[in-house]
C-alpha cells in the first residue's frame, strides 16, 4: 500500500467537507460537514502514524494525536449543537443566513 492512497482519500473528503460548509445553509448540516473535515485530518494523522511506526516500532504518536482530535471533535459537536439549539429557540429557524444581526 502507498502512503498516498490514504492522503489523497483524506484530501478528497476534506474538500467535500469544505464544499459542504460553504454550500449548506442549515446549521446542523454545516456541523456535519465540519465532522467530515475533522475525519479527513484524522485519516491523515493515522496514516502518517502508521508510516512512522513501520520504521520506529515504539512510536505511536499519530494514533495519540488522532485520539486527541476525536475528543476535541466530541467537545466541539456538543457546544456547537447547544449553540444551534439556542439559535433555534430564539428565532425558530437554524438558517445561518438569518443570523445576520451584526451586519449594519
Amino acid at each position: 500500500m502507498f502512503l498516498n492512497q490514504f492522503l489523497l482519500l483524506a484530501a478528497i473528503l476534506f474538500c467535500i467537507g469544505v464544499y459542504g460548509v460553504l454550500a449548506r445553509k442549515n446549521a446542523v448540516l454545516v456541523l456535519m460537514s465540519i465532522e467530515l473535515i475533522l475525519n479527513a485530518v484524522n485519516i491523515n494523522l493515522v496514516a502518517f502514524g502508521a508510516y512512522w511506526n513501520a520504521t520506529d516500532n515504539t512510536n505511536v504518536s499519530g494514533q495519540v494525536f488522532a485520539l486527541f482530535v476525536i475528543a476535541v471533535a466530541a467537545a466541539e459537536v456538543g457546544v456547537g449543537l447547544a449553540l444551534v439549539l439556542l439559535i433555534y429557540r430564539n428565532r425558530q429557524s437554524i438558517d445561518i443566513d438569518d443570523v445576520d444581526m451584526l451586519k449594519g
Binding site: L7, L9, I12, L29, G49, A50, L67, F68, I94
Partner: protein
C-alpha cells in the same frame, strides 16, 4: 505476502469509494435525516481504514465516539430543531454560492492532490506492524500526559458550557 497486499488494496479502494459517495451524499442530499445516516457510512469507513492501517484502538474509539455518541447527538439536534422529516429544498445556499463553494473545493483538491502526488510519490508503508493498545496507553500516560490532562479539562468545560447554553430557565 503479495496476496495480503492485493487484498488490502482491494479493501482500501472499495471502502474509499463508499466513503467518497457517502460524503458527497452528506453535502448534497435534500433530507436532513438521510444526511446524518450517510455520515454514518463515512465514519464507519474511516474506522475500517484505521483497521487497514493496523491501528486498532483508534478504530474502536472511532466506532464508540463517532458512531455511538456524535451521530446520536446529531439526531437529537435534528429532532430538537424540529426539522422537516421529508425532503426539504431549503437546506442549501443559493446557486451562485454553491458554484463558488464548488470552485473553491475543486481548486483546493487540485492543489492538495498535486502537492501530495509530487511530495509522496511512491512512498510505501514498509512493514506495517500492529500498533498495540498497550503501546498507545503507554504513550498517552508518559509522553503526552500533560496534553491528556488539558484535554480532560477541555471536555469538562465543553460539557458544562453545553448544559449552560441549552438549559431552559
Amino acid at each position: 505476502m503479495l496476496a495480503l497486499l492485493v487484498a488490502q488494496n482491494i479493501a482500501f479502494y472499495i471502502i474509499a469509494a463508499l466513503m467518497v459517495v457517502g460524503a458527497l451524499r452528506v453535502v448534497t442530499c435534500k433530507n436532513l435525516m438521510h444526511a446524518a445516516l450517510w455520515l454514518v457510512l463515512v465514519l464507519a469507513g474511516a474506522a475500517a481504514q484505521y483497521i487497514l492501517l493496523a491501528s486498532e484502538f483508534v478504530a474502536i474509539t472511532q466506532v464508540l465516539v463517532y458512531l455511538g455518541a456524535i451521530i446520536v447527538l446529531f439526531l437529537f439536534g435534528i429532532m430538537l430543531t424540529r426539522a422537516k422529516t421529508g425532503t426539504d429544498d431549503d437546506l442549501d445556499n443559493k446557486n451562485s454560492a454553491k458554484f463558488i463553494g464548488g470552485g473553491i473545493a475543486v481548486l483546493l483538491l487540485g492543489l492538495m492532490g498535486y502537492s501530495l502526488i509530487d511530495g509522496f510519490k511512491d512512498t510505501e508503508f514498509g512493514n506495517l506492524m500492529v500498533q498495540r493498545t498497550a503501546q498507545v496507553s503507554d504513550s498517552i500516560f508518559s509522553t503526552y500526559l500533560l496534553p491528556f490532562e488539558v484535554l480532560s479539562i477541555l471536555l469538562l468545560a465543553a460539557l458544562i458550557g453545553a448544559i449552560v447554553l441549552a438549559r431552559r430557565d
